[in-house]
Point group: C2
Chain length 378, copies 2
């Protein structure tokens, strides 16, 4: 994707695939609002506000973008792809959404759409049967094309450089607060070509035992593990949507105790084994099991509290999920995280995470920076 | 609010008021997920991810916080107020939400809740009637207590200082890109006690004619209007929710043309008149009309493309709305923006915005920095 006309062709193909899937599933339309579906589909990011923006994609008619009238100037008009229907401040946008439908027996609604709008639509369309938007769009978004994989690679390269600075001690840790380090990671993520930071977890010592710990005021001490899990969404030209990065690396502030080093080395092997197991046709559940079984050999599986991974693309977490309940086989072009960990409350924790793409040549890890436990000194 | 025990008492009162309103409206429960309701009610901000976090508040039973098991450490436990129900990675959170209900004939769902979760709940509870969460919580959140008004005042003071730097030329404009100025505004908003920036619109010259213009790469020239509309959410201690700021000021890079100055002076008067009209008992529609009528006298009403204002609190935009369709009278403790503007496509635009509280002593403007068109030179 390198020009506005080529991204327009991509958007057009995506709309065609959505209409084909609506047809195949007997769904009359999909209705998309805030969240990553719209940027992926037409390059427009709806404002997350009480004024409704909604793209109506009927199975058999031109899509309509219902949008606050004064936000119309923000939209790149693509009359070949969709019609724009602005609504004034005293008009009812729900009426305009309903008018854009050609049928309403079965409707899909974008996963992130605010419930207040779904409630309003249901009051006007009491007979409609509603399904998740992801049932239509999920299988399309989860298979990345070459340009999307290239964008994910650029995102991964950016956070790899930040991880390198962390591992080499270029980013000081000891004596700084987690929040301060998190802010530095955030600045570097932006400097590496991201439009925004999605998260920058810095969890030191016992805090590393909480997988979704936020950076706190705690000062990082010598002799602690520091778990850093960070990522953002890339800035792209030509109205293209941004793609996400997501990486986790651990460093130790001083020589790690043998007990931790040993556990970490098991984790390192479990993560590498799971990456190698991520081949087309293997289920998400099977890959999860590879890491879990390897950790079980070391008695660490009881501390592996979460699923192995999640799909990634225009959204940080999306299909496919690598979890014991997902029997779906991996497909060519699926992109996902492989991120086993162990978390021992009150003591410490660790996680290693890469983004991996399933390809016909086997699994390709987009993150290539070292995975081992880097030791940094004061 | 100055200690954890006093904020706990506030949360307890809010839960009581919600239960009373559920009772009064014949609603069995309200279900709250992502967005500002949860921080306002229990001091917890749900992660906007595919793993469901949902507080179930039944009319007649203890609330239950259904949350991913490994995010439980992030929650400040308040067993007097709610029970925590963690769900494991292979469990179904929807089942846990349903178990926490004591009745499900009529249910309210938080406005920002992702539709995917409402769809899932509706498949399990096909007979339930659903209403917007705001029907329960909106009228409670829209009436601010003294501590909330104090928090809004601190937020306003912070952005007033940023606006002062803008008006005095301390923040250079000419020769910089809108995006660069927006980034500086954002840094200053954080430095002034906000935890996050919600928006920092910088719209120069013709861009000022788009009310929701984002800062672009356009370089600010001499002889242009620069419209800046910015705000964030404050950082508060003790698990208290943050409160929002929102201000708009315009500066001119050089001496403004008489035509613009004249139009701006009409806007200045329209804004001040609307602030003065914001008294308890007057409807949102009436206040909107005051500004609109004053602009009509100058022939500018055709360019006033949006409603006059929106409520503000833990959320940037909330009840009450100052719009011609809102006949509800303003209540003591309502806090809202007063922000008339004019937008002439291809040419220029302007807006002036303050946050105002309706009090028994009359309208109180929280923003006190000068409103007139400041002139800055290179």
């Amino acid at each position: 994707m390198s020009s506005d006309s080529s991204i327009a062709a991509v958007f057009s193909q995506r709309l065609d695939r959505i209409r084909a899937r609506l047809e195949a599933t007997g769904t009359d339309a999909v209705l998309l609002s805030v969240g990553p579906d719209l940027p992926w589909l037409i390059g427009y990011d709806a404002m997350p506000l009480e004024r409704l923006t909604m793209l109506v994609v009927p199975v058999d008619a031109t899509p309509t973008l219902v949008i606050p009238a004064f936000e119309v100037p923000r939209v790149v008009e693509r009359p070949d792809l969709f019609t724009i229907e602005g609504w004034g401040e005293t008009e009812d946008p729900i009426t305009k959404v309903v008018s854009a439908l050609s049928g309403s027996a079965r409707l899909a609604v974008g996963d992130h759409t605010w419930s207040r709008f779904l409630v309003d639509l249901q009051h006007v369309l009491p007979e409609a049967c509603w399904i998740r938007g992801a049932e239509i769009i999920g299988p399309l978004r989860s298979v990345k094309d070459e340009a999307e994989i290239a964008a994910l690679q650029r995102a991964a390269d950016g956070v790899d450089r930040v991880a390198h600075a962390l591992r080499t001690g270029e980013i000081p840790l000891i004596g700084r607060s987690e929040a301060d380090v998190s802010a530095e990671l955030s600045r570097r993520i932006i400097a590496e070509g991201h439009a925004k930071v999605n998260f920058a977890i810095v969890a030191s010592g016992p805090n590393a035992a909480s997988p979704h710990h936020h950076a706190s005021d705690k000062i990082i001490q010598p002799g602690e593990v520091v778990l850093c899990d960070f990522g953002g969404t890339t800035a792209e030209p030509h109205g293209e949507p941004g793609y996400c990065s997501d990486i986790t690396r651990c460093v130790y502030t001083g020589k790690p105790p043998a007990e931790f080093q040993e556990a970490f080395d098991h984790l390192l092997e479990a993560q590498a084994m799971a990456v190698r197991a991520s081949v087309i046709g293997v289920s998400g559940a099977s890959v999860d099991k590879v890491a879990r079984d390897r950790l079980a050999e070391a008695g660490l599986d009881q501390w592996f509290l979460h699923r192995l991974g999640h799909g990634i693309g225009v959204e940080e977490h999306e299909d496919p999920y690598l979890v014991s309940t997902n029997a779906e086989p991996l497909a060519n072009g699926n992109a996902f995280s492989i991120e086993p960990g162990f978390y021992i409350a009150g003591k410490w924790g660790a996680r290693i995470e890469d983004i991996v793409v399933a390809t016909v040549d086997g699994p390709r890890s987009l993150n290539r920076i070292g995975h081992d436990l880097a030791v940094v000194e004061a």
